[in-house]
Symmetry: C2
DNA sequence: AACTTCTGTTAGAAGTTCTAACACAAGTTA
DNA sequence: TAACTTGTGTTAGAACTTCTAACAGAAGTT
């Protein structure tokens, strides 16, 4: 119960609009989100909503920010709840949290990782929220390498080390940044196609494929196949 | 020079419309494709184009079909041109062909593999074109396993074997379907994020990551990390 | 030459985003 | 309490969009 009465009412109005926008997103995709239609469903006229969102893009930008925030909460919880478990289990727990989030709201997953909205540029606060998810990936994968000897650095390892250092990720085993990146691309590779329905009638269980890819990240020093 | 004069003119008109649609796609995304605007640019009024496309979705459906056809030509060429080279080189050649196609026209890649269009259902001819790409993946990966001993089948291998058999892919090493599937998800995982600009300011070379993932498919029996 | 098919036109309905001008309620200050 | 400022809603309307209907005329066929 923070802010003035007016501020609270304003937030409630925005939340209701975004709630309806998410329904439209789920049903008709990004293109199906209509400021006018949202207003109508809320019992006000179209232009009223422009008091709350500068324009349609502004509404979409908030939906994206909220999704990143929600995802960060989820994967951080997945990483934290398994903090003291062995690295392998931790990777699996974390990976499953990521997957469950994606499958529970595919349209939101695609809002973040699907076709980018033309003209969209992430504002600073959204970038910070996205970093939280990145950091969770890194922290979980760092566990896997905690007791492994340092190997030689590839060019890619070097490039990524520069990036993690600039992000203030602290001292990491040199293989961690690349492994975390591959974790992300491999899991996304499966999830993206799964939520897009591209596996359609192939008749296999995507959960098994996902598990196999998770396992591949733990296996060898270089995240191999199985 | 096939068909009547009228049929040829009709095809030329459709081609011009689709050419302009692809420009709009590249510039403003799927939502930026406007039948009206295309017509205007062609020097006719909006409704004229409805003689050539039943509606906007019909135009998009054709764009998707064309993209699958183009991709199939590309990856088949990549697979064929390297037919007699060693399996490892073949995988790399094929993978690079796939990547170059995606990077040359990111919007088309995303049309096929990005956020699906709500309400879109692939017509039969498009499904057949998509199968050509799938088959190319399988044939290239089959080479890798040509001289490897058969290993035991996992549940996933079994599920996928049923699928490849029903597709008439002939006798395959039992590990091939899963490896081909992982090839697809891993390469897509990298490409999808690269063309979406998600790697933004991370300052690493995606080509190196892509190569590493390609290499991971050859490595061990189960496609491991490096 | 007559008939049919194809391709284009204008008119218009119903939707969209978004701005401008106005009305009035709510909160703040004198 | 009265006056003022801010916030929130309204209607009107411009400029788009998709798509249908009705009509005109060119192209191809018989």
């Amino acid at each position: 119960m923070v802010g003035t009465r007016r501020e609270r009412y304003r937030e409630e109005t925005k939340d209701e609009a975004k709630r309806i926008a998410l329904e439209q997103l789920a049903e008709l995709g990004v293109g199906g989100i209509s400021v006018n239609a949202i207003a109508k469903r809320m019992g006000v006229t179209g232009p009223a909503l422009y008091r709350y969102f500068k324009n349609r893009d502004d509404l979409l930008t908030e939906l994206i920010r909220d999704a990143w925030s929600d995802l960060a909460d989820t994967v951080e919880a997945g990483a934290t709840s398994s903090r003291s478990r062995p690295p392998r289990e931790r990777v699996h727990g974390f990976g499953q949290a990521f997957r469950e989030w994606a499958l529970a709201q595919p349209h939101r997953y695609l809002l973040l990782f699907g076709t980018p909205l033309p003209g969209y540029h992430a504002p600073q606060d959204t970038i910070a929220l996205a970093h939280r998810t990145t950091s969770a990936f890194i922290s979980v994968l760092a566990d896997v390498y905690a007791d492994r000897p340092a190997a030689e650095l590839s060019t890619l390892d070097g490039q990524l080390a520069a990036w993690t250092r600039s992000r203030g990720e602290g001292d990491l085993h040199p293989a961690v940044p690349l492994t975390a990146l591959r974790a992300f691309t491999r899991l996304h590779g499966v999830l993206s196609l799964e939520v897009s329905g591209q596996f359609g009638p192939m008749g296999f269980d995507p959960a098994l494929l996902y598990r196999a890819e998770l396992e591949s990240l733990i296996g060898v020093s270089d995240p191999g196949p199985d």
